[in-house]
Structure formats: structure tokens, C-alpha cells
Symmetry: none
Subunit: 210 residues, 4 copies
DNA sequence: GTCTAATCGAGACGGTACGTCTCGTCTTCAC
DNA sequence: GTGAAGACGAGACGTACCGTCTCGATTAGAC
């Protein structure tokens, strides 16, 4: 962004409204057509913008969709429901609700698929979506520590890996439930899942099978 | 399959070799090109087969890729490593190994993405891949029950849902770790994940927090 | 043709009805689809015959259409209307009537077009259609000589060339009028044409301009 | 042509060179392959143009070939050889020379065949080829009238029909001689044909049969 | 108030894959 | 051996998007 401005100080500036219109048009087209039938020429048409304008700002379909989808996840927030278990349930339900929306479903999985062959794209996804929402895990843990539900961070090395694991487990399970199994991640399922997850993270190893 | 044979008893029969050649060519092309650049005309060329032949057997790219990828998962089997935890770790590692292969990575996620807008395709994925591998969860539990590691099926209603949950958690976590986080699901990660999962499933609720 | 019969005296004999059915189906398809959209698979279907059978008897689309169209011209005959001029008018009207039928229009011009690049095909057309109908010119002249309307063949070398010229002028003018100009070769036109033709063939050179 | 320009004043203008390249490539391909084996993808390749460009300008093979062939006839012109008979012979010989070229032979007959099932195409042929060359007949008659070889237009209604008849007779006979009879329309043949035509048009009815 | 330069819309361009069609051949079963 | 059925390799069809390009027409800030 800055580098662009540095290079050119003159000429007509880019329309700020165009960006928003394009991203909104992308989500609209994703809902109606899905990723594979989404045409950038169609997006441009919907946004009331020339194809040239679109290509000046995004390298291609993948980059555009990542940005369009990333915005959806920004509305996630950690509710304060009084206990760690309830807080997790709340945020997982929110996550499930977003994944139930067609623009997220089609778009997210498609760019993940594309990212398997494109490291730059995977990095963009990680930065725009994953890392951005990692805050929820961190904030949840901090709040549980303040409440005394979790001990104050015993091993910093361990904990970093645990945060990743939690994220993989939560996001992975919800995505798989919703998109692969094709069943809703509803109240009951989220409750069962949260119970197993939390128990697994906090129980004593000898408490189970002895 | 049967219906096709029933309907027509005459005419030249379809070449059995062609099916295998096409599926192999599809996987080869997936490795080199990924899903989005995979062209059916190219697959036909690699398989030494006319495009017509390919379209006579599969409705399109999605159906073809589902079948090509499904075969990859048939090589999964439940190892007998002496304990439930070790068995799970073994099969999760196998699963991770398959997902590390590019033909599985690109193909699987792409068809899952497409399935978000195509119920018939999702059903095909469920039947060809998910249900087919569900056997691993069932067999693992049965073996653990024989060993006495798990109680002999206490609640039949509950247990069916638990099998689904386990599958969603295992498959989801490994997929997310591998494809989204972009880090390997190696020995250490699988060990940590299995520990949390098993503990969550077997620990007493009061053993952890109370 | 003959050699085929000679070579095989055993096995199931060819269905004689099939030939007729195929030629009739070809004309039917020509009416509905025209030459360029005529598919041999469709002709076989209409004739209730396998594609194999069709290809055993004709080398391809062109040969088949020539035979199918040639049959149409066999119904031409020279009427006896009392004078040479009236006889010519009669036969030209018959010719125009055949060219007004869609199976003749599409088929004839198309094979003529193909024949421009295929000498064997042109020879087949000449033998099956042109030479076959040349009889009409010869018979008309003979009848006119019997009536005394024309002198008894003065120059044999010249006359052969004249027959060809007459045929080219008659067939050419009717075809051009019908297919290129797109106007009907009706009673009035045929009368005007015949008058010019006959006058040109019989008038004294000095009768016109000098 | 004009309407297109009027409708859109914006966007990248169409390449003028492309039209010429495509028509030339069409004629080249007609010579080598004939109409039925002429592939638009091949024409595009030869013209160094994308298939899209070709389809943007012509609706299909027929329209393209009509335009490609029509250009060939524009080189016809009425020579001044001193007398009406000699002028006609000259222009008929030119016409025969064009029809001796393979690009004209294949193309012209094929589109005429197609036009039997497509009124718009016939109209295009009439406008692009027939009407365009009708000028030769009109100019020839005018010149003959100036010379005193023909009386100054006695009956306007009659004459219009006579022009059509002359055109049908000339074009029809040459086409039939060249393409159907498969013999050259050489000096001798043209002389004989012209003699009959002119005599038929100018002789007194009573001069022949009495 | 020019001048200057990057923006904008529109749409044509060379490519490439799509999924369908027809070709003429080949393979099988039934008679 | 013939005939019906239909799969086969081949390749053109006409369409749709791709991402690039060429236009003339706006816009701004720099002068």
C-alpha cells in the first residue's frame, strides 16, 4: 500500500469505494455461483467496475476471494458467558454460524485447496484469516486464567504449541462437521465437542483409564 | 452399476482397463497441475483415451476427482500396536501421510469446496470416502472393548453420535493442521493430539476441573 | 459391387430392403436437416439399421447422398406436347419441380461442391445423374427431327458438342434461377427461357443484327 | 457496418488487419482442404488470430466463406472489345477463370447448398455476389445501346426480367459446365455459348421456324 | 489555468478448456 | 457371416473466461 503511494504521487487516485464494492460483489457472486463458476468479469459487472480496475488491485481470483472471505471472520468475538466451557461454546457456535453461510463455505475451502499448490496464497490465508482469529484462543485462555479456571501459564514453549493444537482442533472439527459430514454444528454437537475438548485439555492423565 | 448392465446386454462392453488408466492419469495430473489447472482433455491424453470415453463414465471433473482420491484412502488400515492410544496414533499418522501427498491435498479440498454447492457431490464424497473409512473408528473401538480399555457399549444412541464426533475431530484436526496451518502432522503433533482426544473421551467430568 | 457378390456366396445374404430403407431415410433426413447436419448415425437409426450395415454398402456421406438424389431424377420423362418448344418447356418444368423439393436442393448442390475436390465423386455424379438424363436431350432432338422441326443431323462432330451445351444451359439456368436467385422457375420463366434457347439454336446468324 | 460504429464509440477498436488476414486464410484453407474439411480453428491459426476474434465477426463457416468468395468476383470487369458479342465473351471467360480456381469452386457451391436451408444466407449470397455483379449485365447492355447494337430500352418491365434471365443463363451455364460437367469453359465453348445466347436474345421469332 | 500522469469505463485481443457432436472403426452378442 | 448395439480414438464445434491490451474520457495534484 505504502510503496504504491511512494512510487506515484501524481495522477488520478484510486477510488476507495471500488474496493468495497468489489469485495461485496465477490461475496454476492460466491453465494449465487460458488467458487468454480465465479467469473471475475461477472464480479466486475456486479461491482459496476471495469475488469481493468479489478486486476489493478488483485492478482487473481484466489487473492480476491481470500480478502472477501477474511472480512467475514472479523465479526467473531469472544462472549463472556461466565465459564471457560461456556465461552468456548459461544465462540464455536459463532464460527459454525459463519461457516453455514454459503459465501464462506464455497470460498474458504476453495482457496485452501488452491493454497496446497501455492505457498504465497497459503501465507496470505494464514495472515488474513488464521492468525487474525488466533486472538480468540489467546483471549479465552487469559480470561480463564483470570477466573482461576486455568493455571497461570506454566511452560511457555509448551503453551505456544497448545494454542496451535486447540485452533486446529476447533477449526478442523467444525469445518469437517459442516462441510464434509454435511451436518449442522448445532447447540448439541457444539456442547458435546466442547466437553471432549476441554476435558482432554484439563483432565489428569491418570483420571481416565488408570 | 448393475442397472447399466441390466439395461444393455448387447454392444461392445466398456474397457475395464480404461477406468484404471483414467483414475491413475487423474492423480498424476493432480500432482503436476493441481485441481484448478487439471484439464479433462489432458487427463484423457495421459490415459491414452478419447475425451468421449472419459465423459461417458464420469459426469465431470468433480466426480472424476472424487473417485480418483477415494482410492487413495482405501490403503488405510488399523494397525495393532497393543493399546488404543497407540492404535489411534498409528492410523492418524497414516491419514496424515496420505494428506501429505499432493494428489490428495489438492483433490480432496477442491471437491469438498465444490460439494458446498452440490448435494449430489457431497453425498458421493460421503459414500466414497467418509463412510468407507468410518470402519476404522468402529474397528478401533471394538478392539479396545475386547482389550477392556473401553466399556462394552453402554448407550447405543449416544455411541453412534460419538463415532461421528470422533471422525470429525480426527479428520478435521489433521486436515486443518496439514492444509490450513501448513505444518506437518508429525509424530509429536499426532501424539499430543491423540492424548487430548483420548483423555477427553475417557476422563471423568469431575476429574479435571472440580 | 459385382465382385462383392461373386466373392461371397455363403453366409447370411444382405437384406435387399435395407438399401431402399437407407436411401429413403437419407432423403427424409435431407429434408429435415439438410446436408451439413445430416448424420449417418441418424440415417441408420431412421432406417432401422445398424451403422455397420450402412458403411458396408456406401463409402461415406457423399456417395450415399448421390445415390439417394439420383433416384429422384429417374422420374423425369419427355412429354409429347406436339412441338419441340412445348416438349422442352414440359421437361424443364419437371426438372424445376424436382429442384424445388428440399431433398434434391440440399443434396445435389452439396455433392457437387464436394465433387470439386474429389474426382471419383464427380465421376459418380456424372454417371448417376448427368449422363442418365442426357437421354432426354437426345430423345427430344430425335423426336423434333421426326417431326421435321430440325434437320436430320448435319454435322456429327458438332452435334455432340451441341448436346452438351444444351444440357449445360438448361440445367445450369434452372439451377441458378432456383437455388441462387431464389426465385421459382415457373411457367412464365420457363417459357421465356425456352424461347431464347430455341431461337438461339435455330435462328440464322444474319437474321438478328444485320 | 455503420450501425456498429454508431452503437459503440468506446473500448478497443477492432483490428482492421484481422479481417483481411482471416479472409485470406479462409481462401488459402479452401484451396488446400475444401469446404467440408475447412475448420474455423484452422483458419484462425493460419490468420494468426484467436478463434474468438473470428466468431466475433462472422456467425459461422457459411457467412465467412461467402465473404471470402465474394471478394474474388470483385475483380470481374467488362472489357471493351468493340462489339457486344466480343464483350460478353470476354466477361464470361473471366467468370470461367474465377470458377476454375479451387477456392471459388469449393466455396461457392457449398454455400449455395447451405443456402437452400437458410434464407438469411441466400440473401447474403444474393447481396454480396449476385447483385454486385449484376452491374456487368447492365453496363454491357448500356454500352451496346450506345453502339446501336441494341434498341434503346423499349419495355422497362420486360427488360428487368430479361436482365435476370441473362444472368441466370450466363452464370448457370458456366457453373454447370465447370463444376458439374467437369469440362473447361474454354475459348471455344464460350464462343459457342455466347453465339446461342445472343442469337436467342436478338433474333426475330419468325426468322427460325417460320 | 494549464499541464501531467495515473485512473476510469469499455471492450477487443490471443489463449485455452469446456462439454457436445459426428466421424468411421472395432468389439461383442444373437441369429 | 450378418446384423444390431454400442464403445472406441479422433478431432471440430461454438461458448466462456482468462489475463492483457488499447482506447478515449475523467480527475486530481503540480506548476
Amino acid at each position: 500500500m505504502q510503496s504504491r503511494r511512494t512510487a506515484s504521487r501524481t495522477g488520478r487516485p484510486r477510488s476507495a469505494a471500488a474496493d468495497a464494492a468489489i469485495l461485496a460483489a465477490t461475496r454476492e457472486a460466491l453465494v449465487e455461483l460458488g467458487w468454480s463458476k465465479l467469473a471475475l468479469s461477472d464480479v466486475a459487472l456486479r461491482a459496476g467496475v471495469a475488469k481493468t480496475t479489478l486486476y489493478r488491485r488483485w492478482a487473481g481470483k484466489n487473492e480476491l476471494v481470500v480478502d472477501a472471505v477474511a472480512e467475514l471472520f472479523d465479526e467473531l468475538e469472544l462472549p463472556d458467558r461466565g465459564s471457560l466451557a461456556a465461552d468456548i461454546e459461544g465462540v464455536v457456535l459463532q464460527f459454525a454460524a459463519i461457516l453455514a453461510r454459503p459465501e464462506a463455505r464455497s470460498g474458504l475451502m476453495a482457496v485452501v485447496a488452491e493454497a496446497t499448490r501455492d505457498d504465497a496464497l497459503r501465507e496470505r490465508i494464514r495472515a488474513s484469516i488464521v492468525d487474525r482469529q488466533m486472538r480468540l484462543v489467546l483471549e479465552g485462555r487469559a480470561r480463564a486464567q483470570r477466573r482461576g479456571e486455568l493455571p497461570p501459564e506454566p511452560d511457555p514453549t509448551e503453551s505456544s504449541r497448545t494454542v496451535d493444537l486447540i485452533f486446529d482442533m476447533v477449526a478442523g472439527a467444525v469445518v469437517h462437521r459442516t462441510l464434509v459430514s454435511g451436518k449442522p454444528a448445532d447447540q448439541a454437537w457444539v456442547h458435546g465437542f466442547t466437553r471432549v475438548l476441554l476435558l482432554g485439555l484439563t483432565a489428569q492423565p491418570d483420571g481416565g483409564t488408570a
